[in-house]
Symmetry: C2
Subunit: 299 residues, 2 copies
């Protein structure tokens, strides 16, 4: 490690702390980029990553150290930002890391505690995290919620960046729970809107529904197009997130059906590159959902 | 029947047509009241109904003819406005009626076709209907969507009333489908919000969620209080409506989980009289939802 994090707060070292990013996708690369822009050194490990990831990491100014093992020897803090289905494998890839591991992924509190067990078993310290909002931009800060006894040590790392880091509580799982209940609405309702459009289309009442929406719920025509755009570009990595939310509901004694259904819908979304929402995007999403007469498995 | 409805349109007779209402609750009594206010004769049948229903019918100026059988002999049009779980029994109570029966209840297209079969088997004519919006008021008209080959005949009945009657199509089931997809959002998201508040509370992150909502989704704190008010006063009759929506999704090949979960939540709502939404109402609703560690049946 470049700096010892034992005992003293990371805050004074925050500016000088070396951060490792695993595995920077769109959000991770953006977080790395704002850390670089504020003068921090940020490493990443290209081994096994795609050409697209390499391109993004280079653009963000991240230094490639090759492997996760090498990265874990050279940094004070590791931040994991990956699709939720990969979170456990990513943590295992740096088992033995002695610094502070921040899992910033959309996982259930139960999964967060499993991740903490992997890291602390190897001698590392674990901070639970949850990112809310789009990738950081100066005019619209991304919120990074943190929890666990070492959460406050991470705040300084993001000083003077458009990432607003906030401590939720001392408990591992709290930051993840917050992410789950937030996304339960934002992504759960996106899936619901797509389901509603599909049923309305199958029943031949979509034009009348759109007229009624324009009168009484005028935000919904546009929101359903936005849901189609999101599903077609990001739905593939929201499947596991919906399953994590469903598990969070079940663990709290609530029904998991909303988000099992949402996972089912995102799992059938196309994978498009286009960022623009239009009626055609919606058509492409709905075309991959089953047609009348099909019987989905119970959800 | 007071007027023959064979052959000619009801529209000229619309003003003079005698309407029977089965079974006027809050919405039904309000519909009867606006028909009365526009000078129409409106009958109802008090047999087996509650003192509360009697009071409402009297206030609305409806004429009591005792039984459903008597009512079916004396009217041109019957409008059924009842909780969806009662719709089939209400239709059966006037089997043999020779006029036009309008089912205005929140039922699936499949249930609407079952209702049509009951009425037409007895020689009556069936119009499918779906009511959207709160009870009619001059400044906020309720929409009554109608479908079926006789749908246009019903339009005239509501001329010069704050009920905006509109024909969706010739097909029995279309008006019900429209009601289903509309309520899939309005009531489905109410249940989801209550579930989210319950999970956030169980996980100890509700205050942080409310802070984040106030910044980025500022309508949700108020909407979740409104959801609690609705659930605590109307949730008991939304359970069957959510099941009808779930069946509508399944019949279209989409997952039924969103609305099975919503039914589960409304089924556990308290039955309060209070119309005011406040934090205490929300507390009362959430207190009846299971606590962490409880495992709900799969949904």
């Amino acid at each position: 490690m470049a700096n010892s994090t034992d005992g003293g707060p990371l805050a004074p070292a925050g500016g000088g702390a070396v951060t490792g990013l695993l595995h920077p996708g769109e959000m991770g690369a953006a977080v790395g980029s704002v850390l670089r822009a504020s003068g921090r050194m940020v490493l990443w490990a290209s081994s096994g990553r795609s050409a697209e990831s390499r391109r993004r990491a280079e653009l963000a100014g991240l230094e490639d150290v090759g492997t996760a093992e090498e990265l874990s020897r050279r940094v004070d803090v590791i931040v994991s930002v990956c699709p939720p289905h990969a979170a456990l494998d990513v943590a295992r890839s740096v088992a033995g890391f002695q610094g502070i591991f921040v899992d910033a992924n959309a996982v259930s509190p139960t999964t967060a505690r499993e991740l903490a067990a992997v890291i602390t078993a190897g001698g590392g310290r674990f901070v639970d995290g949850g990112i809310i909002g789009p990738p950081p931009a100066a005019d619209n800060p991304t919120r990074l919620y943190l929890s666990g006894t070492d959460a406050a040590l991470i705040i300084g790392l993001f000083n003077e960046t458009p990432v607003a880091a906030r401590v939720v509580s001392d408990e591992i799982g709290a930051a993840s729970a917050l992410k789950m209940v937030y996304a339960a609405w934002s992504k759960g309702t996106a899936a619901l809107l797509l389901g509603i459009r599909a049923v309305a289309r199958a029943e031949g009442v979509e034009p009348t529904l759109l007229d009624e929406w324009r009168d009484s719920l005028p935000e919904l025509p546009g929101r359903s197009l936005g849901a189609a755009r999101s599903a077609s570009t990001k739905g593939w990595r929201w499947v596991a997130e919906m399953e994590e939310i469903a598990s969070t509901f079940a663990a709290a004694g609530l029904p998991d059906g909303f988000h099992r259904a949402a996972a089912w819908i995102f799992d059938r979304s196309p994978r498009l590159e286009r960022g623009q929402a239009d009626e055609q995007t919606l058509d492409e999403v709905l075309a991959l959902l089953p047609q009348p007469g099909h019987r989905p498995e119970a959800h």
